[in-house]
């Protein structure tokens, strides 16, 4: 039976833990709102961009002169997995879910005899995948200095990926991130970015456009930008998901700490009562003996 002093200390420490998790939850809530706004603000660009790209790509697909970013290298031997996770932990299953999806995919590819290369964005994913796929790592992008995700950050990642593509280091690139649905639901997602995949729900519009310069030149100009746009959207979705996941994880932690305090307080009171009863018995039996 722990003595009273120990119990009291224990209660105090759980109380301060609860204070911290509560604060983290509130910080995450504030950041979540900002991250969500950023993700929403980026949507018009991404949607229109994809719509125009889909139109151009479906027209150019199949032609011999189509750029490699659209038609692929003609092989799918080497896969680059771009795994985007957070820089900080304490956000529930957020990083684990993304890493798990990437790991499953990598194992599938390896079982099919493909070569897998992994580029990680964010520290946590690197830590989780290091043990199984350490020798498949080709690079890491550090985002710990980034306070507010900007398009330039996405461009940096895109430049890295495109440089490797130009150097023929891989044939297919897929990004892994978490799509933000709401505070309690984030969906780990894999999206192929190279070669450009025409969205399945795309339907050709009725408008026939003139192109200036010609279609191919526009396509060649836009394809690298499409990679950056996809990465930017993914990073923003990830940012919102991370804060959402952290918020609910910290909410749970705060609630658990509360339950624990209640239990410990009951135990403390019982022990105190037992000590008092004991003392009384001692005094009474002492008096009776006289």
């Amino acid at each position: 039976m722990p003595n009273l002093k120990d119990l009291k200390n224990r209660i105090e420490s759980v109380k301060s833990t609860r204070k911290i998790t509560k604060a983290m939850q509130m910080v995450a809530a504030a950041k979540l709102r900002r991250a969500q706004e950023a993700a929403e603000a980026s949507r018009p660009y991404a949607e229109r961009f994809t719509a125009v790209m889909a139109g151009l790509a479906s027209a150019a697909a199949g032609s011999d002169s189509a750029p490699k970013l659209l038609s692929g290298t003609g092989s799918d031997q080497t896969h680059l997995l771009v795994v985007m996770t957070s820089e900080r932990g304490l956000c529930g299953g957020f990083n684990t879910n993304i890493a798990k999806l990437a790991r499953t995919k990598a194992q599938e590819l390896q079982a099919a005899g493909k070569t897998v290369k992994i580029l990680t964005v964010g520290k946590k994913g690197r830590d989780q995948l290091k043990r199984d796929f350490g020798d498949a790592f080709v690079g890491h992008v550090d985002m710990s200095e980034v306070k507010r995700m900007s398009y330039a950050d996405a461009q940096g990642v895109a430049k890295d990926v495109l440089g490797r593509f130009d150097a023929l280091e891989f044939d297919v690139a897929t990004i892994f991130f978490s799509r933000f649905q709401n505070v309690v639901t984030q969906i780990p997602t894999a999206q192929q970015i190279i070669p450009f995949a025409i969205p399945e729900d795309y339907e050709a519009g009725e408008t026939l456009y003139d192109y200036e310069p010609d279609e191919e030149a526009i396509l060649a100009d836009l394809l690298p930008r499409a990679v950056a746009t996809a990465i930017f959207s993914a990073l923003l979705e990830n940012g919102a998901s991370e804060q959402g996941a952290r918020m609910s994880a910290m909410d749970n932690a705060t609630r658990n700490a509360g339950d624990m305090i209640d239990q410990l307080t009951i135990q403390y009171n019982r022990s105190r009562q037992a000590v008092i009863t004991n003392e009384l018995i001692e005094i009474i039996s002492g008096a009776e003996a006289l």
């Binding site: 660009y45 229109r48 961009f49 900007s150 408008t207 456009y209 192109y211 200036e212 310069p213 526009i218």
Partner: protein, 141 residues
């Protein structure tokens, strides 16, 4: 005619414009209502939007403009209202293309196409600078 200007980070403008002058890759073009549907890529330049007698000006680089039956959408990788342009923005834009030029030159391999493209981009940026009254560093070719 509906006019939208969006950058990856946010929507900068959405208004009912009388005419829009777009710095297209093949030259400037002015779009008014009922323009033929066109998609054009942008070169770094100044986008002018006329709304009820007022002219709004934006500096845009990279991206494209989609002219549809409903109106014009300009998707620019970087778009800043001309009045908000600072020397720092200008320098950042310039450094970016200078950097791209140097890389293109290194990777040129006897193929002058990409190098010329990068040099043209640089010239476009310098032209934008002089148009809006901000100086750029001198390009090192």
């Amino acid at each position: 005619m509906q006019f939208d200007l969006v950058s990856p980070e946010r929507e900068l403008a959405s208004m009912d414009a009388a005419s829009v002058q777009i710095p297209g890759a093949d030259g400037d073009m002015t779009v008014m209502a009922d323009h033929a549907p066109t998609i054009t890529t942008l070169r770094p330049g100044v986008l002018r939007v006329e709304v009820g007698g007022n002219t709004h000006e934006y500096v845009v680089t990279g991206g494209f403009a989609e002219i549809g039956t409903q109106g014009v959408s300009v998707l620019a990788e970087r778009a800043v209202a001309k009045t908000d342009m600072t020397q720092d923005d200008m320098d950042a834009m310039f450094d970016e293309v200078q950097d791209a030029y140097n890389r293109a030159k290194q990777a040129a391999d006897g193929n002058s196409g990409p190098v010329d493209d990068a040099a043209k981009l640089m010239a476009d940026i310098v032209a934008v600078g002089s148009e809006i009254g901000l100086s750029t560093k001198s390009p090192s070719l």
